[in-house]
């Protein structure tokens, strides 16, 4: 499907931009006027940096109008999640999170971390939460290293669990028990669990 080009792209200096904004990118750039961000990738360091930059930019433009964060993600790395989470909590503008299709693992934490009362989900979307997944033991390292590594991971896991507990309102113990394995939810269950507030 090839969207129609804007009339103004056909002449003047805008023509230079035309090849860049053709196709899907066109609609994303137009959405950006409404302070909407589409996050449909794994939570990696690059994605986290891009997302932080966008959120900080929109926040700087207007402290009060909401930022719309559309999420469709498999999750990803802890470093990326911590980065995104901290920026989400830092900006003054309310962050509306909208779950499109799937929010797994780190993606689910991002979803829950939206401004309370402003977290939405499409009707047939899915959510999965779980504790940190990691490689263990560190190959070639001895007991002392592995012990301290495991302690570090446990602390990090506790931080993530506390984040989820804070935003869902679930007791920490229940969350830890649920997250010891993969915990799957549809939109309705996610609403009951406190990860979202409204189903669209």
């Amino acid at each position: 499907m090839k969207p129609k080009m804007d009339k103004k792209h056909e002449h003047g200096h805008d023509q230079l931009l035309a090849p860049l904004v053709r196709g899907y990118a066109d609609s994303y750039i137009k959405m950006s006027k409404n302070r909407a961000i589409f996050f449909s990738e794994d939570v990696g360091d690059k994605a986290a940096a891009d997302l932080s930059a966008l959120m900080l930019y929109y926040d700087n433009e207007d402290h009060e109008a909401p930022i719309h964060l559309y999420i469709h993600s498999n999750g990803g790395a802890i470093s990326g999640l911590n980065n995104i989470y901290d920026v989400m909590q830092m900006v003054h503008a309310p962050v509306k999170t909208i779950l499109l299709g799937k929010c797994y693992s780190a993606g689910a934490v991002m979803l829950a971390a939206g401004t309370k009362g402003e977290r939405y989900a499409l009707r047939s979307s899915n959510v999965m939460i779980h504790g940190i997944q990691f490689a263990f033991p560190i190959a070639g390292e001895d007991m002392t290293s592995n012990k301290s590594y495991l302690e570090f991971i446990e602390d990090t896991n506790d931080l993530i669990m506390k984040m989820l507990a804070k935003h869902t309102g679930q007791p920490l113990d229940k969350l830890k028990a649920d997250c010891s394995r993969e915990y799957w939810m549809n939109a309705k269950a996610a609403k009951e669990y406190g990860i979202i507030d409204h189903i669209l």
Binding site: G131, A139, M143, L150, I153, S180
Partner: protein, 194 residues
């Protein structure tokens, strides 16, 4: 490399693997990372040689970077079961888990060549798996059990207390042959003939 040598038999000259020939004379080699195959071969040969004659000594030459702890415990246990005295000789190097096998030889029959090195460390795994917090904790419990067993073996071999061993081997420690003899990991250094 060709390891076949000619063996005189009643049927004439037959090619035979040199390791096989040595094994016939109760000399076994561990000359690689101790994987499942090597460990099983060693265990089978030890049991066979013990069955053939349970009083004549079996010699185990070791030049190995170590191996999976399960395999090493298996060999160690079989070495403890067989009645035939087992002489261990470190040629080249006996690293980490391989040092346990060296120390597992019969007291007074644990040798090293003059330039051999021996290293001892805590439990080290050369594999990892994708896991979660709960399973990793269970795994860690098993590692602690294995590590305690490893120290127990060293304690039996050297006579040093477990507490002392834990301190000494918090990091991987290297021994030259004379140092290893002083520490009690081996009993004798093989003297050169000339």
């Amino acid at each position: 490399m060709n390891t076949l040598v000619l063996e005189q038999t009643e049927h004439g000259e037959v090619p035979m693997d040199v390791y096989q020939k040595l094994a016939n004379d109760r000399i076994l080699f561990i000359h690689d990372y101790i994987d499942d195959d090597i460990a099983t071969d060693i265990v089978a040969t030890l049991l066979l040689k013990d069955h053939e004659d349970n009083e004549k000594k079996i010699t185990l030459f070791i030049n190995s970077p170590g191996g999976d702890i399960r395999n090493v415990f298996m060999i160690y246990d079989v070495m403890a079961i067989v009645n035939a005295p087992i002489e261990t000789v470190c040629i080249g190097a006996a690293m980490d888990e391989a040092a346990l096998l060296l120390a597992g030889g019969r007291k007074g029959m644990r040798l090293a060549t003059k330039n051999a090195i021996i290293s001892v460390s805590q439990l080290v795994n050369n594999w990892h798996m994708h896991t979660n917090m709960t399973d990793a904790k269970n795994l860690m419990e098993q590692f602690k059990v294995d590590n305690d067993r490893l120290l127990e073996i060293l304690n039996k071999a050297t006579g040093k207390s477990v507490k002392q061993l834990r301190e000494d081997f918090d990091r991987r420690t290297f021994f030259t042959a004379p140092k290893a003899m002083k520490y009690g990991l081996i009993d004798k250094i093989v003297a050169p003939n000339k």
